[in-house]
C-alpha cells in the first residue's frame, strides 16, 4: 500500500519553507512546481474515484481516464493565474512549464515508490520520457494561450481544442509506456524527440505572424 499523500508532504515541506524564504521569480517558480505536484496528487484521487465508479480496470484507466483528469488538473493552476493576476506572456509560459515539471517529478516519485528503483536504464528513459511528455503538453497549451489567437472567444475555444489534443497525446504515451521492450522505448523517445526538434528548429522561428 502506498500513501502518496505522505510522500507528497515529505516533498512539499522543504519547497514550502523555501517559498517563504525566496522573493520574486524564485518564489513564483517554486509555487508553480508545488502547484504541479499538488495537481498530480489530486489527479490521482480523482482518477481513482472515476475508475471506481465507472468500473474500469486499472490498466485501461491509465489510458482512458488518467490522461483526461491529469491534463485538466494541470491546466487549472495556470488558468487561475492568468485570470486573477493577468501576467505577461513570458512569465505565464515559464509558470506553465514549472507546473509540468512539478507534475512530472511527483509522478516519477510515485512510480519509484510503486515499482522500485532497481532498473536504472529503464528509470532514466522513463524519467526523461515522462518529463518531456509533460513539458510538450505544457508548451502546446502555452502556444495556444499566447500566440495562436487574438480574440478572447477564439482563444477559449482554441485552448479547449488544444487541451483535447494533448489529452490524446498523453493517452497514447501512457499506452506505449505501459508496454515492455522496444514499444516502451519508442513511447518514451517520441516526446523527447519533440522537445529536441522544438529546441533545434522552432525556438527562434516560431513567432507567428
Amino acid at each position: 500500500m502506498n500513501y502518496i499523500e505522505n510522500t507528497y508532504i515529505c516533498l512539499a515541506a522543504p519547497l514550502l519553507l523555501t517559498i517563504l524564504c525566496l522573493r520574486r521569480e524564485g518564489r513564483r517558480s517554486l509555487i508553480f512546481v508545488l502547484a504541479g505536484m499538488t495537481a498530480c496528487l489530486l489527479s490521482a484521487y480523482v482518477s481513482t474515484y472515476l475508475t471506481g465508479i465507472m468500473g474500469i480496470d486499472l490498466a485501461a484507466a491509465s489510458y482512458e481516464i488518467s490522461p483526461v483528469v491529469e491534463e485538466v488538473m494541470k491546466s487549472l493552476p495556470i488558468l487561475f493565474f492568468l485570470l486573477v493576476f493577468e501576467p505577461d506572456k513570458k512569465v505565464a509560459i515559464g509558470c506553465s512549464l514549472m507546473i509540468a515539471v512539478g507534475f512530472a517529478t511527483f509522478e516519477n516519485v510515485c512510480f519509484l515508490t510503486s515499482y522500485g528503483t532497481s532498473e536504472l536504464l529503464n528509470l532514466v528513459i522513463r524519467g526523461f520520457g515522462t518529463g518531456a511528455m509533460h513539458v510538450v503538453c505544457g508548451m502546446i497549451i502555452a502556444l495556444g494561450l499566447f500566440f495562436l489567437w487574438d480574440q478572447v472567444w477564439l482563444r477559449v475555444v482554441g485552448v479547449f481544442a488544444l487541451l483535447c489534443f494533448v489529452i490524446t497525446f498523453h493517452a497514447i504515451f501512457n499506452i506505449f509506456v505501459n508496454q515492455s521492450g522496444i514499444v516502451f522505448w519508442i513511447g518514451s523517445v517520441i516526446p523527447l524527440t519533440a522537445v529536441f526538434v522544438y529546441l533545434l528548429f522552432f525556438r527562434r522561428k516560431v513567432r507567428l505572424s
Binding site: 482512458e64 495562436l148 482554441g158 481544442a161 489534443f165 490524446t168 493517452a171 516560431v206 505572424s209
Partner: protein
C-alpha cells in the same frame, strides 16, 4: 484486418498532411497553417489511439472519451481555419440557406441518439452544425468570396462524408470491403489529401 489496413493508410496520410502543415508553419509563420497542423494532428492522434488499442489490447477502448475529444478538437480547428480565412465582406446577414446545416445536424443527432449516447451526439451536432453553417454561408456568397470557395467546398464535402461514415456504422453489415463504411472512410482519406491544397489556396490570398 481490413479495418487495421485502412486505419494504417489513413494515419499515414494524416501524418504526411500534418508534416506538410508544420513545415508551412515554420516557413511562413502562418497561424492558419498551425491550425491546420493541429487539425490533421488531432485526427491522426485519434486514429493512432484506436489503432494502438487494437494492436496492444486487441479491443477498442471501453469508454471512448479520449478519441472523441480528439475528433471534437479537429472539428474546432477546422472551424478556426474557416474563421481565419474569412473574407472581410463575410459579416452581413447569413440568410435562410446556411441554417439548413444546423437543422440537418440536429435531425441526424436525434437519429443517432437512438443508437448511442446523448452528450456526444449533442456536441457533434453543434460542431458539425457550425462547420456546415459557415461553409454553406461562404458557398452562398460565392460571387464575393470566390477565392475562398475551394476550402468551403472541401469542408462541406468533409462534413457530408463524416455523416455518411456515421450513418453506415449504424447499419454495420460485415468486415469486408462490401461494407459502405470502408468506402466512406477511404473517401475521407482522399478528402484529407485535397484539404491541403484547399487550405494553401485560402492562405495564399
Amino acid at each position: 484486418m481490413i479495418e487495421r489496413i485502412e486505419n494504417a493508410i489513413q494515419i499515414t496520410v494524416l501524418l504526411i498532411c500534418a508534416g506538410i502543415s508544420i513545415f508551412k508553419t515554420a516557413k511562413y509563420r502562418s497561424r492558419t497553417w498551425t491550425n491546420a497542423f493541429f487539425f490533421f494532428g488531432s485526427l491522426a492522434l485519434g486514429d493512432i489511439y484506436w489503432f494502438v488499442c487494437l494492436i496492444f489490447y486487441g479491443k477498442t477502448p471501453q469508454i471512448s472519451v479520449v478519441s472523441d475529444l480528439s475528433w471534437y478538437a479537429s472539428y474546432i480547428f477546422l472551424y478556426l481555419i474557416l474563421t481565419r480565412t474569412a473574407p472581410p465582406e463575410e459579416t452581413g446577414k447569413a440568410g435562410f440557406l446556411p441554417w439548413l446545416g444546423p437543422v440537418f445536424t440536429v435531425s441526424m443527432a436525434l437519429f443517432f441518439m437512438t443508437y448511442g449516447e446523448i452528450l456526444g451526439n449533442i456536441i457533434c451536432a453543434s460542431l458539425m452544425g457550425l462547420l456546415l453553417f459557415s461553409s454553406i454561408r461562404r458557398l452562398k456568397d460565392h460571387k464575393r468570396c470566390r477565392k475562398e470557395l475551394f476550402l468551403a467546398v472541401m469542408i462541406f464535402i468533409f462534413c457530408m462524408i463524416e455523416y455518411g461514415l456515421w450513418l453506415s456504422s449504424c447499419f454495420w453489415s460485415s468486415d469486408t470491403l462490401a461494407n459502405p463504411y470502408y468506402w466512406f472512410d477511404f473517401l475521407l482519406t482522399v478528402c484529407f489529401v485535397i484539404l491541403v491544397p484547399a487550405i494553401k489556396k485560402a492562405v495564399e490570398l
